[in-house]
Symmetry: D2
Subunit: 388 residues, 4 copies
């Protein structure tokens, strides 16, 4: 069973993750992960910190001479600005520390419920962990999963569909080419004609002390039919993908395939006809993909298509009203950091989050503890479903 | 830890669930559950089976003299049409059975991926379990959770927002009153003016051999701040709710609070200002609720608001193209059952699914093994957050 | 992931279990389970209830025409003496019920801690679930697992080593033959010469109002090397077996292979030399089996050997001192039931408990959702380790 | 839910653990852990490496100014001899590395099953993770749990009962004093008169190229009645303790309270009479403790008593027969390290492993996210059970 835990405060010494259950024999380099970490830091509309931190992963375990061992993989990212925070965030009581608790919860953040839940008097004790910086850990973990998937010709792509109400037009191309287009610009849109308008929207929001959200789409190609299961609620692939993505910071909506539009469309135009194409990877195909690759809680052999809505960054230069936790007096919320838009980065994070869930379901289906064993099992399955 | 498993084929002898981790001392009657089961069977647009099956739960364990024991609660619904299926679905090899395997997978169902995954030659072996009949089990489990929540003044409501593209207008009332309006008509809309139009849409779809989906909204009032947690991805309440709902049959989208609209709206109009109201249940309040009651993966004290998109029923009288699993020849998909629209029922199911997840998070936060102990812990918490 | 939940009070209407994660395509009949249930009810030293209850399982789901579907298997045993308990144990408030709470906790039972934990005023609310009757559910679940293992030539056996201090001599035979000897007598000893002495010990204890415990051994043959894993504490096979067995009612000790004797023996006489035998099932063999088939938290290809100590039945005719929960006054503990010795039954239960854990680890290693797929994966693995 | 993952190869750069679910507000210093790590490295009979590595933990997250945050705690121990292994164990392909695979599996180790399971050609890829060095991680995690328990006056102790067949006499003293005696000598026996004999046994074994195992006992005082539960197999406290301890390297037996001796003793002398003592911590008491503090899968308010059998270290100077994985030729097993006896260290590890499981069950029972909240809940419970 593939599983992981992440740890780390935003301004603590490091982000640490442990990924458990990866098979042995997978070629894996730090660069496989660093590429994803770098993609996560790009995008028009980011602020100063993205320049400070150039995240690099260190393997602390689980990989030897560029190949996984089957043992847990500990992944660590040093926080480069730790030195500036060492006194304030020291694990040890630090005599230089002048207590300066944050008592002003910021709207849209974990600050208020976190302080109440954990009984914190200093909101910093919440915000450090709730920060979207944690997504760097999830990218690490997902990047390893992605390497596994690539061995079986499963690939994860994404692109941004809209930012702050500016919508890209749909481009009708295979996922790999959509992805390439998205990678060509700093808002990750496949409709390159919309890039300028989005830049302007971000610039205007920034000038306004405001922030913007958006929608991105994740696509997974090459997923064989039968990942997940219809037999029990918590094994359904769509549910697991929805949890993984909705648990990402700032996400407020997840839809699969046609998504909310199914509510507007009669069944005869929603469900995907089934055909057989001996030349296709899995034999049986669908002549449309409104299901977004998942039926009955299982992958159905088509591209998995998920769209995700990210809310605007919660920290505004133009602060919202709040009240002090101790005095209950109103104040204008303080500013912790300063990106205007992180939707392009979110799409990269989303890719890696999805990669993890798909890899987890893949390993459940095919078993095995080494790439060679999994490959043997997988080929056996593909042969069976094609020849049945 | 509250958990459950469900079991049962649609035309098997029974649906069986085990709910584990409910505290002792909760007043619980079969009627508490039967009320929810009955609500699940209502709604304009249902077909013949809803008339056959009038679901009633039997407690097989965990309840004595109307009070929970703290032991696992086994919940069983007898399938009333079992007698007609006994030969075909007999657990034992049955000499009267003339094999008549279903080899024609229906678009939009689990049929194809399920048959490939499990190696079934008879699609019935998939469809019996994948059927939305399983949601009766989830309603049983959720109805028990709901009783627990009611002890702590937490209530779950729902209403239907649209069916087949016909949208109810928003009514500005407290959740309990919205619910009452919804209960007053057979499409569960709070905008009673739209009921006729929806009836007509359903009738038209039915005449057309077609089916309709829709969107419903679930509301949970009285949830204290601090359920779920920001500290680890799989503890976030929004992720867990999204999984629970997306794992429900036919669901293709889940959004919380403002949902996908956050992508269109600048941050200054998305995030909810914080205030303090000593007269309120939890002290701290928000002056709007675009977050839908969840920030940082935790409940924030406001009403939890979730919208869910259900696709049209997959079985059409006007069947879609498919191919035989054995011959690979095209055919027009067969009809297994015949509802035209199940969105009102889905909203009831959604309520109960949400109730389970909230109850699970509630018990994690407050611990305890009896209602008395949980109440003591809960009051202690409420006092603390109000007096801090 | 193979998992299960059990439910049911000892004098409630039924015992219900749900087993989730069994693959499709396994031949399975109620008799496969009833045989184990019957074995569980035998043994010298049992009291009256074993005659009343002749346990028979009913499949409520997951099996069709004698073959598993891959869906959850709901297993139900009707409690035959339910009619006599219906008023006292009615799930519904019953006007005929004259409250007669048990307030006298019995030493050696769950009564006291259970009443305190769950806040029960009537100890019956604890003892009904804590009863060893629950092991009938675990036998059901284990008997299904056993069928799975048999497909892969993995077999589970047991025999009793001692009862009440009377020890069987070790017989040097293969496990299957030991098992056959054990099945030939009502104390399940392979040393048939000791049967009379054990009968006498049980008779004497009974005459004395006393009870006896004992030690039994479970053996599993044909387990391939590599189930479990050394990489994470909770995946180790020995730990999982120890949990499964220690969680069985009345068990106070578990040891694997040489067990506690390793503490008395130098390493040179403990560790098992490795050899290669091309004619053996797995190629590599050990020339002794002090490890009991598990090294580094993994099966090593040898027979798994576990010994388990069961305490004497806690209910004595010659009752022990206790105090009333309400009055705190001393009393002599009441008698709920009346077996003198249940060690032979415990050995049967132990077999089935072990079968579940081995099957779970087996499915994790080989993946797959149907017997055909698992067989293909398994053969691939065996070929690989033999030909490497 | 308290949970953790450990990671790290024995000669890799570091051992890393993540402990998830610890409440906020717990005073915690690195020294709390380092004390336990130092105790783990002591004991007569250890070899050279114990001198090289003086383990020190670093908090990478979850602790600020000496207090836990409620967020995951990442615990890291740098492997001090990493520099000598950097080329051989480099996560990156290293041009200086001359492949020198270990192909000779050592009896008693994970080497053989691990190589077969994971398809490794170099046994080092197994042994690095299977090494008992991993127990340093488990001590880290357990030491944090121990701090939590200490807040509630729950304390974990241990002592060694026998080594290599030399048995300490039982000393009749309270657990804290037994522990103090054990800490006074380098074999951790409370019977100081046996220390010389054990030294001699270890010296003799060492001279012989042999190794010794032994038995230790863990004691937990102050555990309230009601941790764990009787209602479901996997919630029983005894089962969970057995898993935790049996999953520790080299453990072959676990027994609770009277343990295997229950098989020799009639019930009237096994079960513990119940009494009431208003002056005691929990009100109800037992006048003996043969149950070892656990009845019905729950703590019963008495001291928890567990004994654990550790096998002799598997690496012998006088090597055992084995065969090369590639050539299948016999050889005499190679030596990886060189302790003669690690039973005293094992007892320390056992303490910390037990502390984790007790803390996990404690948090399940009392809920809460901060020490203040847990304390309030706990006091409420104690008051209730004392005043009922």
């Amino acid at each position: 069973m593939l599983r992981y835990l992440t740890a780390g405060e935003s301004h603590g010494p490091a982000l640490v993750s442990i990924l458990e259950g990866m098979p042995a024999g997978l070629a894996l380099s730090a660069d496989d992960i660093n590429v994803q970490l770098a993609r996560r830091q790009l995008g028009y509309g980011r602020g100063r910190r993205m320049e400070i931190e150039s995240d690099r992963v260190m393997f602390r375990s689980g990989v030897r001479h560029g190949v996984t061992l089957g043992s847990p993989i500990a992944l660590e990212i040093t926080n480069l600005d730790w030195r500036q925070w060492e006194v304030r965030m020291d694990p040890t009581p630090n005599p230089d520390y002048k207590p300066n608790p944050v008592t002003k919860p910021r709207p849209g953040h974990a600050d208020l419920p976190g302080a109440l839940k954990y009984g914190h008097r200093d909101v910093r004790n919440v915000l450090e962990r709730a920060s979207a910086r944690e997504t760097a850990s999830r990218v690490c973990v997902g990047a390893v999963a992605r390497r596994l998937l690539a061995e079986f010709d499963i690939h994860v792509y994404s692109h941004v569909l809209s930012i702050g109400g500016v919508h890209a037009r749909r481009v009708n191309l295979p996922p790999a080419q959509l992805h390439e287009l998205a990678e060509s610009n700093d808002v990750r849109c496949t409709d390159t004609g919309v890039v300028d308008a989005i830049h302007q929207a971000i610039d205007a929001a920034k000038a306004n002390g405001d922030t913007l959200g958006g929608v991105f789409e994740v696509l997974v190609t090459g997923v064989p039919p039968g990942l997940g299961s219809h037999v029990q609620w918590d094994r359904k692939l769509d549910g697991r993908l929805a949890q993984a993505l909705m648990s990402m910071q700032a996400i407020k909506g997840v839809e699969i395939g046609m998504g909310f539009a199914v509510a507007e469309t009669p069944g005869s135009q929603v469900h995907d006809p089934i055909a057989y194409d001996a030349a296709s990877a899995f034999g049986f195909i669908h002549t449309s993909n409104n299901a977004g690759g998942i039926e009955g809680g299982m992958s159905n052999g088509e591209t998995i298509v998920i769209r995700v809505a990210k809310k605007p960054i919660s920290t505004l230069y133009k602060p919202l009203a709040s009240v002090d936790l101790e005095t209950k007096q109103s104040f204008a919320a303080s500013i912790e950091r300063s990106d205007t838009c992180a939707v392009p980065a979110a799409s990269v994070i989303g890719e890696n989050i999805v990669a993890f869930t798909i890899a987890q379901a893949f390993l459940e289906k095919y078993g095995g503890d080494s790439i060679a064993e999994i490959r043997r099992n997988y080929i056996g399955y593909l042969t069976e479903i094609r020849e049945r």
